[in-house]
Symmetry: C2
DNA sequence: TCCGTTCTGTAGTGGACGCTACAGATGTGG
DNA sequence: CCACATCTGTAGCGTCCACTACAGAACGGA
């Protein structure tokens, strides 16, 4: 009971995500956030507590999409197909013209000013997550004999994470979807067999 | 004539570089910069004009080191060796424990707030430079028959740039030098021949 | 209809930011 | 030794930042 909320939580989160994505966590000002979200500061603070709280809510929403992507990737029958889905799908996502370039988790903060360390740490953790899930999947593949000999699951996972993060950087610099796909195909040459 | 400058320009630039590297362009405050450089704001402004002017001076100094690295890379006799030097050398640099992790050009600003676009553009340009020089080198290699058939010089250059940028991101997340070297070696499998 | 509760919009708050006015210090040229 | 030019340190400028006090509006319950 009480006066009902005049905005849709998911909708304003999507709009906030766009601002954080384009300007980074610290570069996104409350003035621009509230203007884009179409609400006033008190409403924002009542709903999310703080700028960091808002950002974490955005991050969680973003993480849902990533999680479903990773489930599709990890569900591929062979390790070679895991790699294909991961690289090609990431190129597709990083180059999606309907969204800001690259990846929110990378764009919104590689570095931070003093006091922003907790946000930077949260982002760093988010970046590590797909890599560790890939590693686990490749360890399983190795035990099943589904990994070329001489390939270390951890090194392969780290390499793939690096390539995808590099694609995000390229996208931020204006690379097109087709160019990102070329990067994915070059990376797939790492592993011509299978 | 007049009162002589009480600080060494290159020394304060190196110290400023460290701050920008760790906190990014916008995350580096004048207070921290002046404290680290050991000078007061008026001295800084007399010498560099503005925070952006200081950053550009830092960037130019950083670029000198990068340029000599790229000259060594591009001077390798075969394209395969160009790739080896670029990947292994970049892993070495990104993991250098004497400096902040990764690459200044990437750490100091993938995104920016409103008004910081000129800095972001300058950084984006700096990021493209090694890639275009690699492309030119690979085009030369192709004309000399020194490139495997089916490899596009532009795509190869972009791929390598992405891998190296990804290594920087990994370094920012705490990856060790040895782990970065593993990424380089994985990437070298792209091109087992030669 | 009135009450309690929750949200909304206006209009700020203190503080940190990039930057600079000013006066004193330190050098060179005459 | 003095006039002048340049740098240095103190102290503070206006502006923008994340954030909030407050009063009125919009609901459900009695």
């Amino acid at each position: 009971m009480g006066r009902p909320r005049a905005f849709d939580r998911d909708q304003v989160l999507d709009r906030a995500m766009d601002v954080f994505w384009r300007h980074g966590y610290e570069g996104a000002s409350l003035a621009e956030l509230t203007a884009t979200m179409g609400i006033n500061p008190p409403s924002l603070y009542a709903a999310f507590g703080s700028k960091e709280g808002l950002f974490r809510a955005v991050l969680e929403r973003y993480g849902q999409g990533r999680a479903s992507f990773m489930e599709d990737v990890l569900g591929a029958p062979t390790s070679r197909q895991v790699v294909e889905r991961f690289l090609r799908g990431s190129a597709e996502l990083a180059g999606d013209p309907r969204k800001p370039a690259g990846c929110l988790v990378l764009q919104s903060g590689l570095t931070c000013g003093v006091g922003g360390e907790s946000v930077a740490d949260a982002l760093s953790e988010q970046r590590r997550d797909p890599e560790s899930r890939l590693r686990v999947r490749f360890e399983q593949a190795r035990d099943e004999g589904d990994l070329p000999s001489g390939v270390d699951p951890a090194a392969l996972a780290r390499y793939l994470a690096a390539v995808v993060q590099g694609m995000s950087v390229q996208a931020a610099g204006g690379a097109t979807r087709a160019e990102l796909q070329q990067v994915a195909e070059m990376a797939l040459r790492t592993w011509p067999g299978n």
